[in-house]
Symmetry: C2
Subunit: 153 residues, 2 copies
DNA sequence: TATTGTTATACTCTATAACTATA
DNA sequence: TATAGTTATAGAGTATAACAATA
């Protein structure tokens, strides 16, 4: 039967154990959750604000979809962020039904400080790894970036 | 002053941009969070159950600490998992105050099916990357694993 | 007296359903 | 009539404080 011979996949034999990769990512996510800056922001709020800071303003509905929460939940989340002075609504010029959201200066400051805090933790954790593993991560950085990109849909 | 010469770090010059790495990881985790298997389990419940399945039984207090929730919150979470037949309490032989928790067979089944679902998603997403990037991720897998390990404290 | 866990209570966040305004 | 968003209400999950049992 020649089952040992890969059939019609020239060079694309699975070079990576997807289940293993998925499991590792889950553990990383679990760990990340724990070193999240406590207090101030809920996970969804943090990701939403971070996204607004990264990608610019966005429609309320789009935010709801991309964070996988309902429209009413996002309405309330944005209201909370607005009350905290971290984000603000503005009407759409073309369609009066639409509500756009953008981060405020205070929001950007907060996002930046949270990022800095996480980067500091990351520095500390990465320093605990042997140089070879650090190098492997450095080499995989573009791939991780690409994966985040394709996963963001 | 010779500031350009690294002082006492022979070969461990930062081989990786920690801020960049942290930012990418944040995006990746944000995306990963959304493709979590929906419904049934809260994030904390899922992580707790997954941990029990991976590392074996654990004290209630340790679970609370490792998931960064309070003891009462973990008490209730375990009660919920117990009511769903996914985990169970058992008393400690040495110390009658202690409550240990373990996953049930049903719990293991659920964890396994969730893992499989995520692995399937991972397979799909990874397949969208060029072979070179897949290879880079495969090479970085042990390092990611080690990072998850050191982050778990 | 300290530690382990539970119960009581209140608050935050989210979902579903019903509603308003605009297209 | 469909779409964008809000309001109303209820439920899940968590925290703080007070408590019970054991060490």
């Amino acid at each position: 039967m020649n089952a040992t011979q890969q059939v019609s996949r020239p060079t694309t034999d699975p070079p990576i154990d997807c289940a293993e990769f998925s499991a590792v990512l889950e553990r990383l996510l679990s760990a990340w959750r724990r070193l999240a800056v406590p207090g101030e922001l809920s996970p969804t709020a943090a990701f939403t604000l971070s996204r607004l800071a990264r990608d610019g303003s966005s429609r309320l509905t789009d935010l709801a979809n991309s964070e996988h929460v309902t429209q009413p939940a996002m309405t309330q989340l944005i209201s909370r962020l607005e009350a905290q002075g971290l984000a603000e609504r503005f009407r759409d010029a073309d369609d009066a039904r639409v509500v756009n959201v953008r981060v405020t200066a205070a929001g950007e400051t907060l996002v930046a400080s949270r990022r800095a805090a996480r980067a500091a933790k990351a520095t500390e954790l990465l320093a605990a790894l042997p140089a070879a593993q650090q190098a492997a991560l450095a080499m995989a950085l573009p791939a991780l970036e690409a994966l985040a990109e394709v996963s963001a849909r």
